[in-house]
Subunit: 421 residues, 2 copies
Amino acid sequence: MSKKRVVIAGMGFGGLRAAKALSGSDFELIMIDRNNYHLFQPLLYQVATAGLEQEAIAYPLRGLTRRWPGSSFLLAEISGIDLEGKNVLTDAGPVPYDYLVIAAGSRTNFFGMESVGAHSFDLKRLDQAEDLRNHILLSFEHASREADPVRKAALLTFVIVGGGPTGVEFAGALRELIVHVLSKDHPEVSADETRIILVEAADSLLTAMPINLRQYACQKLHAMGVEVLLESRVVGATAESVHLHGGTVLSSHTLIWSAGVSAATLAGHLEGVERAAGGRIVVQPDLSIKEHPEVFVVGDIACTLKDGMPLPMMAPVAIQQGSYAARMICAREQGRSLPPFHYFDKGSMATIGRSSAVATAADFTVRGYIAWIAWLLLHLYYLIGFRNRLVVMMNWTYAYWFQERQVRLITSKKRRAASVL
Amino acid sequence: MSKKRVVIAGMGFGGLRAAKALSGSDFELIMIDRNNYHLFQPLLYQVATAGLEQEAIAYPLRGLTRRWPGSSFLLAEISGIDLEGKNVLTDAGPVPYDYLVIAAGSRTNFFGMESVGAHSFDLKRLDQAEDLRNHILLSFEHASREADPVRKAALLTFVIVGGGPTGVEFAGALRELIVHVLSKDHPEVSADETRIILVEAADSLLTAMPINLRQYACQKLHAMGVEVLLESRVVGATAESVHLHGGTVLSSHTLIWSAGVSAATLAGHLEGVERAAGGRIVVQPDLSIKEHPEVFVVGDIACTLKDGMPLPMMAPVAIQQGSYAARMICAREQGRSLPPFHYFDKGSMATIGRSSAVATAADFTVRGYIAWIAWLLLHLYYLIGFRNRLVVMMNWTYAYWFQERQVRLITSKKRRAASVL
């Protein structure tokens, strides 16, 4: 009798963990992704700020299939799922499954604002991070030979939308890039001429964190020279300006959007499946889809409730769900059942700058140097591949000692998506 | 009195060496390049074969201007030179000079064969190396799910044109990538199903080397599984085939062209300047242009004769000429003269594969392991930047021990230039 087949659609944190958990079991395992690598998204902002080379945060998926007998990888774009026929539909043909783990992740949500989508950068993909790095470096190149002071100021103004961990980390890293590297690279540009504006709709940054950490993050960013605009909303953008609710217009050639995500488009292509806010797929307590006990949904694309609230769209949730889905598949095969999925909140953290971070775990909070070290170690731990860990550690050490970032290469002067500059 | 200004047009090996030699002197130094980095071209083929990340062989030029007082960098495309008005014309405006070093390098020469230009990869730029890597990896992804055996074979056939060091090194590295990595990554593809065909018009490879080394290289490549076609010329190409003189057609989706270079287009934009074969600028014995003792031409774009023959277009020539031009500029300022430029041939080398290379210096030849170690050490020595040396050494060590190449990422499925796949 041939082995039963598990197909994993999407190899982000959730899919990767499910695959790893199933890799030793008696299933045929097929992993599908549109990229041939697993991307460590939490460090994308460091690629965008010239701190890491893009290769350091990506791990080739075929490096895993080589180690896992019975597993294989398919590089393909998934267009839909035939739930009745048990087929994943891809541009490389249909892939039949016995069990399916949908782990397609999320995409940036511009809340219907087309002008913002057309004129902003977001940080979901590797090429976007490289584009953003090129754009920031090119803005400095242009600013350093710009005679018009108004245009120069706009080239040197960077607007970041969204005060969650990504926005906070990016703002801090960009400020350090400018102060320690770019203003020294460009004698014609002083760090005081540059502006980094972090725009947040709520009344504080890092709203998921305790109040003392929110205040610390805000003060720290302020001390570093980042302007924080709270209770402000972006309502539109052009290539050279950002428009706020209330009529304020910021002259800026660079808009970075980290203010919202919604489920990957695949969620919308599933017929007869209930969806929640942000297009996320509503799942049963065991993460399966109603009437399809062989289909599990994990990570950002799944809407799981805890105390009546949807779980946040972040890596730890995806990892725990991926692991649970793998155990459920094994249990189903053996005719067993498992208790409903329960998310164990290990806490969260965000780094602000050199020697400075905030972290919370249970009722315990920590900030400053200790939190920063913890952040570094945890991110190294979660990276996959010995080589990637080594390269990242080397880069961090180098940056720490020399306050230098060597990856400041403009590899292309063209944006791959919409054009901004 | 203000300092006199030296402008260096192009920051390859020749320009970089000239700039370095002048960095301590009493000149204002302006370096111009279309990229914001110096590229170590001899290792581009390792980027294309997934052995090195692209950042490891590029060094940010502003890292140099920070260390060199009185120097500055301009990111610009040079469109021409006003020799009478002493102005370099760029897309960022004209740049006046007192002395000029033209070091614009070379471009690939397809000898007028448009179909080859449109359907081949060449290895001059960083993005081309990344494109070629993506294309090779993608060819294996497509081959591993291709049902048609004829199409599968074409996807797995790689034609390399030009039996000089670049062609030989690329052929060897590609073969190792396929045998040690890609055929293990793709269980559906055996290394025996792949073909690497190295096409050379002359009757041997590495024609600049002594006969015993030529034979060794040819035997070694053959033993590795590379097919060598001598006395063969490519006369045309389509996206899926390569046409040889005499009518032979090779079914192949990948054509790599390393069979010729000519001077950079800038050479053609200089009025009243004599040009030699390949469009190279004819220079005086002191590397200046006739009637323009303030303009020096170095590297691939210059045509310098030795014993009546033009010097080869390679890094050692450019480096020695860059150094000479800097000394000449200082001598001119002091009203002194220097003996004519004399190229000191330190020899040449090419690596074929793991533990295997050929090298020649004066009348001395060496091959095998010793030559390979010498090749590694010399390339590390000529790389600039401590960090780059460390990263490259780490990658080489890793590849040597684990026979693994971790940079096998498909970062884009689109070719930036003409489309092949």
